[in-house]
Amino acid sequence: MSRLSFRPRPLDIHKKLPIVKSVKDFEDEDTPTTATTTSTRNSQLLRLAAEADNEGGGGGGVQQVTIKKSVSEIPTPQFVVVDSYERDYSRTFSQPTSYLRGRGARAELGEFVEYDLDNEDEDWLVDFNNERKIITPEKLENLLFKLEVLDHKTRERAGVITPTLGSPIPVLLQLEAAYEALQSLSVRYAIFQSVYNYWKAKRERWQKPVLRRLQPPPPVNDTNPYNVFRPREKAHRLHTRRMQRRENNVQSFEKLRQVRRNLDQAKTVLEALIKREEKKREVMECEVSIQRIQMKYKNETQLIEDGLALGQFPCKYASSEDDFADSDDMMNSRQRVRPASVHNPIFTDSKLVMVPPGRLKQELRSQPLSHGWLHRKDPNAPVFLFTRPVDPEKLAAAGIRPPSDPPLENGGTAPLFRFRGRIGRGGRIIFDRCNSLLQNQIGHDITSFVPSDSRPPHG
């Protein structure tokens, strides 16, 4: 493109492009001359030619010069007229008015002698004839041709024809059989025998048929670059998706079997994978349970040490998952804590009362609420995980007082709330408001946190 500072959008071949008749329209836009762009975009050949000629001029000039240069680099082919041409090629062709139709290959018609004597044959014939003209070259040609064809038929009948050239191809045609088959050529036996022997010896040297049409092609996997015309499988057709082109042979069958095997193996692998993942999940759940039990156990012992345990199975706290199912159950209000947060071992050593997150749902339900809760004598004892008891004197010293009761909506001033202070997560000081509905539970120092939405509490 003309500007190198920005890249134009790629050209959409389906979009109609305006045809602008005047170059001036482009020149207004300050595009560089064609010469530069030509030289930045052209093939190496043109660039080389441009350099060679030190041409930097206008676009058309470069084009012309480059074509001339490349033409001059391509040498004129050398050829001469053959002087015997007029004699060798007879003027016997008359073109029919209708277009010529091809006939089958001459081999199929069987009459034409496809074989031409080569240097060896001619030299042998000269020797054999020894100035006496025993057989003419045409006769020899015919004989050799027929011998080749007969041998091919013999090998066919014996079933030894190979589609590609693998091993040496021996002569199977016997002298007697050949002579009998070629009686119509009326050749004297002795002469025939000489020709046969010569031909057989030649075959032994060549290790393959002498007539090119009968020579099998090299195998497909032959990598010798001097061997040519390997048979090509009709791979083209297989690549097209049209059904009628699909091959139905042993190779396709094998391939399909292989596909099936692969799919079966894939299925097995996937099934094993699923099992593994399920096992992993079970392992995970077990670990979680273990942790919970451990926490509970630890907490229990701590509480016992702290003298807070009341002999009941104290700790039944739901995990957050269970919470969501039971969030409306006021009777079984429970703490919502994230199980993960329990795993921090630091806190187990502190004086905090850990509220273990795990709990056995069934047990809690079966027991009355009073048993289900940790009875703490100290109303200031923290209820949430990681919380510390609040020291009212310290708070007062810092100037923090519990908030006063807010006025009632209808104007009454009955103290409906009692505030409980605690230190929450991150060291915040929190005064929980106890719901009037649950006043009876205040003594139990409950703060039920009933989220209106199902999100777990965040600190």
């Binding site: 500007r3 050209l11 959409d12 389906h14 979009k15 109609k16 492009l17 305006p18 045809i19 602008v20 008749k21 005047s22 170059v23 595009t31 762009t37 975009r41 093939s43 050949l45 660039r47 080389l48 058309g60 084009q63 074509i67 033409v71 082919p77 050398q78 050829f79 001469v80 053959v82 015997s84 090629y89 007879s90 016997t92 062709f93 073109q95 277009y99 139709r101 091809g102 290959a105 001459r106 081999a107 002698v113 496809e114 031409d116 004597l117 080569d118 001619e122 060549w206 090119r212 092609p217 001097y226 040519v228 015309f229 390997r230 048979p231 090509r232 009709k234 083209h236 057709r237 690549h239």
Partner: protein
């Protein structure tokens, strides 16, 4: 030009009279003794009478010469490989044999400093026309095709010098010249064999259907499967003039379109192109060749145009198989330029690349490359536009060269190839 003294191996002869030298006395030659090693770089006298740098590719003992008499197969480094040939020692300027110092030179094109060997490699690859092959294939290709085997052929009226190696069967390794029957393309080692063959060969035109006839020009379609020997013969012949043609696979899957000039002696092949029966990459042409005696007469462009006419009849877009030879690329660029610019000159309203492609059967990519190389696609005011300034068009059209012989579509009688049963 001073005659070059022939030197026997190891022996240094004093320079005789004439050019440059001093008097009597041994003069040490640069670059070492004879016979020259393969890979030697030296100057050689070419057919134009001037010296050109060559690299020795092969050597062999001369027939009937002494034990130290060699011939050398050389590659002219300035030219395409088709000019490689066997030369005699006399043609080589032994004073110019290069010593192996790899000096630093500056490449003018890029202003980079590099060694002489590196620069040479780059320069030579430019000329070769092998840019589209990757390095490994190129090495492999050059390795086994490095020496031409057949140097000359006789085909019909002409005796032609070949350009490249062709993998004839090993039985033909002992000859430098082959004689082709111009109709069935069988090849023989001796003239008498060809003459004998001509007396029995009844073919007067390519074996196949004539699908086009206009004046003396005819086009024949030959199925590689039905006429396998002919197809193979044609490939052997064509390979002599095509560098990158590969004969690795059989001709079964190809169709051959033979272009002929007809007279009372028969339909004489002047060129051909091959085409896959089924191409996945939408190639509408595999190999294309105009025989050397008939080049520069417009036949090549006719073949290209014909290949696109077939594509139009098939209702498909097509593109030639890559890599294209240097001549091939020139012809195609000329064709694309002429066809596209002819349309743009006359077209009134907007046009999309896709529409151009549908009209011409030329692949959109080729259209885009052509227009961009001619600088006819400009980007302005946020969108692309095609410049069709008449003066500019004329300039490009002139540079693209004349059109070839025209294809008269009304004379094409043809249905697309269909697989039989």
């Amino acid at each position: 030009m001073a005659t070059r003294p022939a030197a026997a191996e190891g022996e240094l002869k004093p320079e005789s009279g004439g050019g440059g030298g001093g008097g009597v006395g041994e003069k040490k030659r640069k670059g070492g003794a004879l016979p020259l090693e393969v890979g030697t770089r030296v100057n050689c006298r070419w057919r134009d009478g001037k010296d050109h740098p060559v690299k020795v590719i092969e050597r062999r003992r001369m027939q009937g010469g002494g034990p130290n008499d060699y011939e050398y197969y050389v590659h002219y480094t300035e030219f395409n490989r088709r000019l490689d040939e066997w030369v005699k020692l006399e043609q080589l300027d032994l004073d110019s044999v290069e010593t192996d110092v790899d000096e630093k030179v500056e490449d003018k094109a890029t202003s980079l400093k590099m060694t002489r060997h590196q620069k040479r490699k780059i320069d030579e690859s430019h000329v070769e026309g092998h840019e589209e092959l990757d390095a490994a294939s190129l090495r492999e290709h050059e390795e086994f095709t490095k020496v031409k085997n057949i140097a000359t052929i006789e085909l019909g009226r002409y005796e032609i010098e070949t350009w490249y190696f062709s993998p004839f069967p090993p039985e033909y390794n002992d000859t430098m010249k082959l004689y082709f029957c111009e109709f069935c393309l069988n090849f023989m080692k001796r003239k008498e064999q060809l003459q004998r063959h001509m007396r029995k060969c009844d073919l007067k035109h390519p074996p196949g259907d004539e699908i086009y006839r206009s004046g003396t020009l005819s086009m024949f379609e030959v199925d590689g499967k039905k006429n396998k020997v002919y197809g193979q013969n044609l490939c052997y012949l064509a390979k002599l003039f095509l560098d990158h043609k590969t004969l690795y696979y059989d001709v079964d899957l190809f169709l051959f379109y033979i272009l002929c000039e007809c007279d009372d002696r028969g339909c004489h092949m002047v060129g051909y192109f091959s085409k896959e029966k089924h191409s996945e990459e939408a190639y509408n042409l595999a190999c294309i060749l105009t025989l050397p005696p008939y080049q520069r007469k417009g036949y090549g462009k006719f073949l290209i145009a014909f290949s696109y006419e077939l594509s139009k009849k098939e209702g498909k877009v097509g593109t030639p198989e890559r890599p294209l030879s240097d001549l091939g690329l020139l012809s195609y660029k000329g064709y694309w330029t002429r066809v596209l610019l002819d349309i743009l000159k006359k077209h009134k309203s907007n046009i999309s690349i896709k529409e151009l492609s549908d009209m011409t059967a030329i692949k959109a990519e080729d259209i885009l490359n052509t227009l961009q190389n001619l600088d006819l696609i400009q980007y302005r005011k946020g969108q692309h536009a095609i410049c069709a300034d008449p003066k500019l068009m004329e300039r490009h059209l002139k540079a693209a060269g004349r059109g070839g012989l025209e294809v008269d579509v009304s004379k094409l009688i043809w249905t697309p190839y269909k697989e039989q049963g």
